[in-house]
Amino acid sequence: MSATDPDSAWIAAALAASRPRVLAALLRAFRDLDTAEEAYQEAALRALRTWPRNGPPRDVAAWLILVGRNAALDGKRRRTREEPLPPEEALSDRDDAEAPLAERIDASAYRDDILRLLFICCHPELPATQQVALALRIVSGLSVARIARAFLASEAAMEQRITRAKARIARSAVPYEAPGPAERAERLGAVSAMVYLVFNAGYSAGTGTERAALCDEAIRLGRLLLRLFGSEPEVMGLVALMLLQHARTPARFDAEGDIVLLDDQDRGLWRGPMIAEGLALVDKAMRHRAPGPYQVQAAIAALHARAACPQDTDWAGIDTLYATLERLQPSPVVSLNRAVATAKVGGPAAGLARVEPLAGPLDGYFHFHGLRGALLMQLGRDGEAREAMGRAIALAGTAAEAAHIRMQLDRLSRDAAERI
């Protein structure tokens, strides 16, 4: 079976789409992550063997759950009593058993199943990078090799990191009983944060890199959450935020891999379909009149997306939204972002007035010095601007960030030369 074989492409897509639901049900059945993963692997292998011959089952997820559960039970039995496995043909004949099983998969139960599967990846003792790696391995089903490449780690190191994270989870009690409303909301919050971590791990990387693909994985996980919690405005906001940000990706880097700022981006390169979906979700969320941090950030991204050119941007609206975000989720970085909007509305002096008080908490932050430098430059305070930009270059996390500031410094020198 080759990669271009339509059978194998269809099966791969069907397996990827049903993985979270199947794995979540198997986890509930066996209450052990390794057993559930092995059962899923076995079911996927059998699907690859039997579906091209027998055709796809009516309900892919129900088939995989049934086959995976039986395979794991057979494995257990074999280990205890050396009983022979049923022949392959008998197994695929069990397709008829999928109908009653599908009926037994209660919609609300599988919702909690999937939430639990995602939630165990957000164990508070696990550092953020391990949460992300674990979710990509367990929920998205990415290979350890691919996750390792995304995080520029060796495969062995990543394998060890994931094994250690799983062991940490195994030691703690995973709550298998159905959560109450408050607990469910708490889990949803933790899971949303983890999904956004996955997204940002991808978003901070350059285009075309292995890590950039994590944005797509995060959006897939977000859509999954949204299907389970269709009336939660913050989930709508999260998915909208990711779609609206990711829509800009084709315009975010130039041919040399350097960052292109929002103002300079070719908006024709933005992905229209993602923007359309993001805007639709923002509209849906706003109807609930229950603002939250993801919704407000999505609304900010929506104002950028709606502007056909930078001059059309509703900066006053963005400034107001950042003021709301400062109230909902106060942080110096949010205040710094607000300063950008304030500068656009009220000029560089007004922006700088918001930037200066952040010097304490953001002294080690690249963007603080970058923005401060740019505003000082606009105010004609060249010496201070150069100093701030020098600090920014020293703090740049990527070559592209450093290159961008150098470009501004060059412009400053050029302008200074012209003035002489």
């Binding site: 897509a13 049903s18 859509r223 009336s231 359309a276």
Partner: protein, 125 residues
């Protein structure tokens, strides 16, 4: 005789396609579209955004109830649809409410359109 051809597929599977896979499907469909358009047999066609972007107006009560998500009941059948050009969801909902007042009962699902191909027969004059 005009026929509407309604497209059904597992959206999870479609969402799992890579950009290249999606583009390949659209290219293959485009070939069929072109042939039909040349024959003067193609009317407007469109691709919808996922059901997660949908909002449903339940027409049973007064006022009609707005529900997040797609229309999920099975006791009603799809009997027709409109395409409206509006600024946002609220405007689309206002139109749906006007329609509901004229024709109570059942539901309207409001689903944003991803891709709209106008009627090539009209474009050709």
């Amino acid at each position: 005789m005009l026929y509407a051809i309604l497209c059904y597929k597992d959206e999870d599977v479609v969402a799992a396609w890579s950009e290249a896979e999606d583009a390949a499907v659209m290219t293959r469909l485009g070939v069929v579209h072109e042939t039909l358009a040349r024959q003067g047999k193609l009317g407007p066609s469109l691709r919808l955004l996922p059901t997660t972007a949908a909002t449903t107006l339940r027409k049973g009560g007064e006022p009609p109830l707005v529900i997040d998500g797609p229309f999920a009941e099975t006791k009603e059948q799809l009997l027709g649809f409109y395409v409206v050009d509006v600024a946002d969801l609220d405007e689309a909902l206002a139109i749906a409410r006007d329609l509901a007042a004229a024709n109570p009962g059942g539901a309207y699902e409001l689903r944003p359109v991803l891709l709209y191909n106008p009627d090539p027969r009209v474009a050709a004059g």
